[in-house]
């Protein structure tokens, strides 16, 4: 759960800064250095895997790119390590952008497999290239220095490493707690929901892949100047796998899990290496067996890793507070947020003519035609399998139409994808709710405000987006109040009842500033009271001038609510008219109840 455990986090981090000043043996400092280096890589993986839902086994290769770049530049060419840092970041970033762009459009498991292959080929490359010293690697790498101050001692490097880690943590936390951050969190939910909020999922996927590679490259740079020599071995696939382990063991969905995972794994490994040969003799590689077995056991015990467990124990003593809070009064510039011009009541806004969708030989939607005027609530009904959802998908851009035209406010949208359609002013909800369960209602709703802001990931990481962020959060909070969920503003969305989750989705859609709201079976699975609350909300929105298209098969629900009904069966329109007329229409009765043959 993403509620604050701030004190615990900073306590943990603070401890590592006090640590080198204690009279501890040098060996511990070395371990601390490695924990820091590993944490930086694992942090990137948390962003990539836990939060964005992409997996990489190839991070060690990016560490290697960072390390070898600076090693080559500072030994063979004799350039400053600081140039090496920049060059390493550029090389890793470009490589990641290339790999990312060829894999992001494929389904989930191709990226991990591509990174396995990539990790291996780069490892062999390091070991083969002449000017990188083949398998001996490069040695004699200079130590870091700043303004003539030598940073070569391990205790000083400890400070440098942990400062870098602290910096990365800050940037990642800032980024996650922003508009681009919410877009990244939405990625884990597949493609449909984020795209319907106007989020360019492919771009954000490449972004987090590049960010994770940059952090790995930074770690490699630090490694090279700490170790003063590099060789291919620590950048092989096994290390790439271990980085992923650290993130998973610590809790791959949690930023602080990265450090916890690095501590646990590094500590465990060094203990096992000392202990096991004493217990079992030294003629086997037992630590790797125990290591493997412990991973399997840990995942059997807790698939989410250690951090949620630690945070849960801590939360018993320190009740959590909400982390993201909307400003209480409208922030500066809130009234300047661009708003769409409202079409005049009664103006034609959605026009579907002869829309058809074929899946191979199956015609799911057959030459449908209907229209919606501004301020109307129209119901699209029909028995199960009538093609309502396909029709819905055509209007929202999830599927392209095979033929026919769909126009919104005069412009054709039948070949646009959902990311562009939402920009034009069509908001939607989902039949099976698409929420990020552990985020608060406010954060979920704010995802809908993605198109209302423009701050870049860099600005967000540097906290230059706070004015805009306040406006967006206030906007989201306003929509939550508008739909009557203000009591649950900071509740995790996953703990709401289904009816409330549907209403949350409406609030999220309202954030996109729609002129037409499309609701996909909003009443399905709701209890009577929930249906009444939903109907009241839709009436209220209509009162505010919103146009609504409801796809439903619950007749009672749409009867009292809609201005007009369109009835579908077998992909075609069989009737259209006022609810009272439809109730007595013979074709409709036959479709719903079975006709007399």
């Amino acid at each position: 759960m993403k509620m604050s455990t701030k004190k615990l986090q900073w306590l943990m981090f603070g401890w590592f800064f006090v640590f080198p000043f204690l009279p501890v043996p040098g060996y511990w400092i070395t371990i601390g250095n490695y924990i820091g280096l590993y944490s930086i890589v694992a942090l990137g993986l948390v962003l990539l895997t836990g939060i964005g839902g992409l997996t990489s086994f190839g991070q060690a290769a990016f560490v290697g790119l960072g390390a070898y770049t600076t090693a080559y530049l500072s030994t063979t060419l004799g350039w400053s390590p600081w140039v090496g840092l920049g060059a390493g970041l550029v090389v890793s970033g470009l490589a990641a952008a290339l790999i990312g762009s060829v894999t992001v459009r494929l389904s989930g498991h191709f990226l991990p497999l591509a990174t396995i292959a990539w990790g291996l080929s780069l490892y062999y490359l390091f070991g083969t290239i002449e000017f990188l010293g083949k398998y001996d690697g490069l040695s004699g790498i200079p130590a870091l220095s700043v303004f003539g101050i030598d940073l070569s001692s391990p205790r000083v490097m400890y400070g440098v490493i942990w400062l870098c880690l602290g910096g990365c943590l800050m940037l990642v936390l800032n980024l996650l707690n922003s508009r681009p951050g919410r877009a990244i969190r939405a990625l884990a939910k597949g493609k449909t929901m984020p795209e319907a909020m106007g989020i360019h999922t492919a771009q954000y996927k490449i972004l987090i892949f590049v960010l994770a590679a940059l952090m790995a490259s930074l770690s490699g740079w630090l490694y090279a100047h700490l170790q003063r020599s590099v060789s291919a071995t620590p950048f092989g696939l096994h290390m790439g796998i271990e980085y992923l382990f650290m993130a998973v063991v610590g809790g791959v969905g949690h930023v602080w899990g990265a450090i916890l995972g690095a501590v646990v794994m590094t500590g465990m490994k060094s203990q096992l290496q000392d202990l096991l040969p004493l217990l079992l003799g030294s003629n086997g590689n037992f630590e790797i067996v125990v290591f493997g077995v412990m991973i399997v056991l840990l995942l059997l015990w807790s698939r989410d890793g250690l951090w949620p467990w630690v945070a849960g124990v801590w939360a018993k003593f320190h009740p959590p507070e909400p982390e993201v809070v909307a400003p209480a009064i409208a922030p500066d510039g809130y009234s300047d947020l661009p708003r769409r011009a409202r079409p005049q009541a009664g103006a034609l806004i959605l026009e579907v003519s002869d829309a058809r969708k074929q899946f191979g030989g199956l015609v799911a939607v057959k030459d449908m035609a209907f229209e919606i005027r501004a301020g109307e609530v129209v119901g699209l009904i029909g028995p199960n399998g009538a093609g309502k959802s396909t029709m819905f998908n055509l209007v929202t851009g999830v599927l392209p139409a095979t033929s026919g035209e769909i126009r919104f406010c005069g412009e054709r949208i039948d070949q646009l994808d959902s990311r562009h359609i939402v920009r034009m002013g069509i908001g939607r909800s989902f039949q099976h709710v698409h929420l990020i369960p552990h985020l608060s209602v406010l954060e979920n709703v704010a995802m809908g405000a993605h198109l209302r802001g423009r701050s870049s990931p860099l600005a967000a990481a540097l906290r230059l987006d706070r004015h805009e962020e306040a406006r967006l959060l206030f906007l989201a909070a306003e929509q939550i109040r508008r739909v009557g969920l203000e009591e649950h503003m900071h509740t995790p969305a996953g703990s709401l009842a289904l009816g409330q989750q549907r209403i949350l989705e409406i609030a999220r859609a309202l954030c996109t500033d729609p002129t037409l709201l499309l609701l996909d079976e909003p009443a399905a699975g709701l209890r009577l009271k929930e249906k009444e609350a939903l109907a009241d909300l839709i009436r209220q929105l209509k009162g505010e001038g919103m146009s609504v298209l409801l796809v439903e098969h619950d007749m009672d629900f749409v009867m009292g609510l809609t201005d007009r009904l369109v009835v579908m069966e077998f992909g075609s329109k069989i009737a259209e008219g006022l609810p009272a007329e439809i109730q007595n229409n013979e074709a409709v009765l036959a479709a719903y109840l079975g006709g007399v043959e």
Partner: protein, 349 residues
């Protein structure tokens, strides 16, 4: 390069490609039935080859100790899960009986067999069959212990468990077989010439075995009810369960087959290459590259990919032998780029 070298390289490439094809098949099979990316495949290559080598040099095949150990573990896991479910249903006595036979008695029977017969004098085919009798149950037990309890987990979690199992098996491999590699006897000394091209009997055997296995797999999946049930599980796990297909059985079956195919791949390469306990990993990864070419879904495409990998490896070892591995593993990037451009839209999780 003259035609002679070209032909020899081609023969080499196709021979290796046939082995990769077997591995790619196994990986596609396991992935499509269980969604597990089966990294421990590589260990079966090494274990298989080293066990045949042990039999041929009349050493006791120590892999049996691992079989006995994991058998006990599997039995305990099954007993534990039966006891845990005691509150809801009666103790499944028949199932536990079977579990005792499969996991406790069978490994000891194998142990007895290994001790009581003279394996060195047997024909190689019998030695390979005996090796399969050790490794196939091992694969099934590994599925039962490590994967079946979390069969519903995400692809990522399963992948990590897979890596954990790979590590554990690798470490056990070093302990059991030691760091030294071995080779086995040749299948045949026979050789012939096709025009100007010399053809080794070894290549012929490898291609024939791989080809007929691929044919058998095709028949199995296309013609038998059991094979169709496995394919149904691959398409829709829930749906398969609803029509009465045991998805756990399907998973065990897939692992048994994959372990068997891995072992065979190991025995096929062992007469020509020194195989160590850790050789298999990189070989299996080349099978992976082939499987990815096939999109982890198509058997014929995976086989084609395997041939491509084999040929690429063989020719690049002639022109740029130092970069052989780099070239093979980098192949995956253009392949994925091509798939990405040709696939219509991204899949939904």
């Amino acid at each position: 390069m003259d035609f002679g070298i070209f032909a020899v390289l081609a023969q080499d490439g196709v021979t290796n490609g046939a082995v990769y094809a077997l591995l790619a098949m196994a990986l596609v099979l396991v992935f499509s039935v269980t969604r597990i990316i089966f990294l421990p495949q590589g260990e079966f290559i090494g274990f298989g080859a080293l066990t045949v080598a042990a039999l041929q040099s009349s050493q006791f095949p120590k892999l049996i100790w691992l079989l006995i150990g994991i058998g006990v573990l599997t039995f305990l896991v099954e007993l534990g899960s039966a006891l845990r479910q005691r509150r809801y249903k009666p103790l499944p006595r028949r199932l536990l009986m079977w579990s005792v036979i499969e996991n406790l008695i069978y490994p000891q029977f194998i142990w007895l067999l290994a001790h009581s017969l003279d394996w060195q004098g047997m024909p190689m085919a019998v030695q390979i069959l005996f090796t399969l009798a050790i490794t196939v149950p091992l694969g099934i037990m590994i599925y039962r212990v490590a994967f079946q309890p979390m069969a519903e987990a995400s692809v990522l979690v399963l992948l990590i468990v897979s890596v954990g199992v790979h590590f554990a098996m690798l470490g056990m491999g070093l302990f059991i077989f030691g760091p030294e590699g071995s080779t086995t006897h040749a299948f045949t000394e026979w050789s012939t010439a096709l025009g100007e091209m010399p053809v080794s009997g070894q290549s012929v055997v490898v291609m024939a075995v791989a080809g007929s296995l691929i044919g058998l797999l095709y028949l199995f999946f296309d013609r038998t009810l059991y094979g169709k049930a496995l394919r149904a599980t691959a398409v829709n796990r829930k749906g398969a369960q609803l029509v009465g297909i045991g998805t756990s059985q399907a998973g065990r079956m897939a692992f048994g087959l994959a372990a068997g195919l891995g072992t065979l791949a190991g025995t096929l390469i062992a007469p020509l290459n020194t195989v160590g306990y850790d050789t298999g990993f990189v070989v299996a990864l080349k099978g992976f590259v082939a499987a990815i070419v096939g999109g982890l879904a198509s058997y014929p495409l995976a086989a084609a990919g395997a041939l491509l990998v084999g040929l690429l490896e063989s020719y690049s070892s002639y022109w740029a032998s130092a970069y052989k591995e780099v070239i093979v593993f980098t192949l995956i990037i253009p392949v994925l780029a091509w798939r990405s451009l040709t696939s219509g839209h991204g899949d939904e999780e």
